[in-house]
Symmetry: C2
Subunit: 428 residues, 2 copies
């Protein structure tokens, strides 16, 4: 009986697993040097947890299941709700600020497409307890620190930044009332992916007043922070959030990552919970979906039953990133090669157990070692050693009667006769 | 709104995550030095995949869900069926023997108890394509290599070994017909966990003939390979599998792990797919559930639509292992400490951006570094540095006007004045 894998999932054979490990190890390394500590939650949570503040798009894409008692669960489509739950559970005992990262496996029951799978990994970092825009700058730095580390430069990657708080103030200045904002965000978020007339049609459905619509379209065409004031008169809140954006770009400059970052008023983010600075990371050519995104979500912990505590963070997935790295030729050459320290061959069957013994001693001394399951001809075993990329090959033969082993350097081809006991004594 | 986590799952706060990472990193390290390559599959597969050859217990405990098209899926309760699927998909192109390992997250909808959770990690290693008992010995070696590495000795751990093939031959010699075997295995597998009379009652339900039952009970009391012949006359198949067990113990001796291993005819394994050598790993005091187990499953790949190809492997979970390590006091002292290379303080607000800049440069040069979000009093910042276990603290102050920084060694308390540019030039 032959059963296929489920559509939208991936099989990680050793070659694909090496890529996955390299990406995830890179995320972990950069997180740790940026002062973040790792956490994780369960793969599934109560379904209602994801219905609280996630975007509609995410809720529609949940894989739901039930526990034995018939309670509704869902595979996590994002980890931020779990983070909010975990932090709230220990809010009093956790030292603040909280700087945590995670690399959750996430699930979305959407139609698989390029860069979008039903099962993927996402690098998340979050800073909880700092309202200063310095924290927003730090999470953006952290993303760029990673991209720079793996060779993605300013020609490859761009971080597009805006502010939900500013957008809210500007839209309210145009005359949009507060409870219309959330649905309007969903439309504005889709703008860059839609033809102009489709976007304008969607806007008509949300905003009846033509003057307001025109003002919104005009606003969405602004392409620098300075131009905003030309387009609209700024009230106090709007001015404050414009100033905050200015300070953010100043900090990004101080941090040495300003050249990766641009202001883009079209960045809104799909998720309902963002409250301030928002950003998305794209390939410079804009040929792929967003590589990641994030922003400030100062109300989420409170909405999950905790105190009002500010928070900011990002999520970067492995799918689009993997495609971009592949396209840029940055993947294969950076992957660590699989190799063995030793391959242990034996000249004939009578030395097989001895070869096994030598192999196991090497392994216990922390060396990667393999042996041949069959006492094949020596040439065949040397071929195996070379296929497995062994640095050295130990040949067990008659020399063993005098407590000696032959070691062949697989690069130079040089052979050396070594003393068995001395060799193992020196290994430890 | 406060929502609890789902029962039987775990939240991994940084302290628990450090334990999980340490256990999993240990598994990976030992797998690699034993010559295994890592793979993984999806978290869910088609439900029917797990119904093919898993034990009844596992099938009852599946978390099932559906995809958008209404097809039945299940969260993986074990990874061996996925392994069989993946190997079969590429059977012709994969070099043999296949030595693969994985650390899948697995799910079983059972009642949570000590050492048994609904969501856990399991170390799996498998050798596919070797029918020699040497491969069975190697997987057992690999498990012991790990236990020895983390300080679990022969006083802590025992590997109990038997053979399904031998048991089948012996039961058939007693007069049990082949199609009764599978249900009988399920009863025999439970024996060590049941009072004698309950076990005998269950046996009555399976075997009507009292003589056969008595012979089975007598057989299950055998406690060495040699005694088997005293209990029953051995036919050819039985003798061959007894000899194979003998050779296995000889190899385990050669490998230097014989003292961890005992013969135990009561080891049957719950899963339906085992065909030869089987083993389970227990704490020596037998106070906990099995830490892991494995064995030979020569028919599984064929049952999944592939060729007849021999295979052997094991699975070791993280839950019981974690409890044992905790009880033995082996956990906390082996965990790597969280620390920072540098904490960057500033003497007042005017030097804050400079402190941020220094921090980011340190991070990009691969050092773990943090700074203070508030330009608090220097003493407070030094306290933060010490709380975060920083090795060194850089103090940014008036010295910066002459391009100098103060570095304080947090262990000795010594301070040094260093040249800014020279310091960063030397870092790279």
């Amino acid at each position: 009986m032959k059963i296929p894998p489920v559509k939208g999932t991936r099989d990680f054979y050793p070659a694909e697993m090496a890529v996955r490990n390299w990406i995830i190890d890179g995320w972990k390394k950069v997180s740790v040097r940026n002062g973040f500590e790792e956490y994780d939650g369960p793969i599934f949570e109560y379904l209602k947890m994801f219905q609280i503040k996630s975007g509609d798009e995410i809720v529609e894409q949940l894989f739901s299941l039930q526990d034995r008692g018939g309670r509704d669960l869902a595979l996590r489509p994002e980890i931020t709700p779990t983070l909010a739950r975990m932090v709230n559970q220990r809010i009093n005992s956790l030292p603040k600020p909280i700087k945590w990262f995670s690399v959750p496996r996430l699930f979305r029951a959407e139609r698989p497409q390029k860069g979008r799978l039903r099962e993927f990994f996402q690098w998340n970092i979050d800073i909880i307890g700092v309202d200063d825009v310095l924290a927003d700058a730090e999470v953006i730095f952290c993303a760029v620190d990673y991209f720079r580390d793996i060779g993605l430069g300013t020609d490859d990657i761009v971080v597009k930044i805006s502010s939900r708080e500013m957008l809210a103030a500007l839209l309210q200045a145009i005359g949009i009332v507060e409870n219309e904002l959330e649905l309007l965000y969903a439309v504005l978020d889709k703008r860059s992916r839609l033809p102009d007339d489709t976007f304008e049609q969607m806007l008509v459905e949300r905003i009846a007043d033509e003057n307001k619509r025109e003002k919104i379209i005009e606003l969405m065409c602004v392409d620098s922070i300075e131009q905003i004031g030309d387009c609209l008169e700024l009230n106090k809140t709007a001015q404050e959030s414009v100033d905050e954006l200015g300070r953010l770009f100043e900090l990004l400059g101080v941090m040495g990552v300003g050249d990766y970052c641009v202001f883009d008023i079209g960045i809104v983010r799909g998720l309902a919970y963002y409250t301030g600075i928002v950003f998305e990371i794209y390939d410079k050519a804009s040929e792929l979906r967003a590589i990641g995104g994030g922003g400030r979500y100062d109300n989420l912990l409170k909405q999950f039953g905790g105190p009002a505590i500010p928070a900011t963070g990002f999520g970067i997935g492995d799918c689009v990133l993997g495609i971009l790295l592949e396209e840029k030729g940055l993947l294969q050459k950076q992957l660590p090669e699989r190799n063995l320290d030793y391959f242990v061959a034996c000249v004939d069957e009578s030395y097989k157990d001895a070869a096994v013994k030598v192999t196991m001693r090497l392994r216990s001394a922390c060396f990667a070692a393999n042996f041949s399951y069959k006492a094949a001809k020596l040439n065949k075993q040397l071929k195996q050693a070379s296929d497995q990329n062994a640095n050295k090959c130990i040949i067990v033969g008659d020399e063993l009667k005098e407590d000696k082993l032959v070691i062949k350097d697989m690069t130079t081809g040089e052979q050396e006769l070594i003393d068995f006991d001395k060799f193992f004594a020196e290994l430890k």
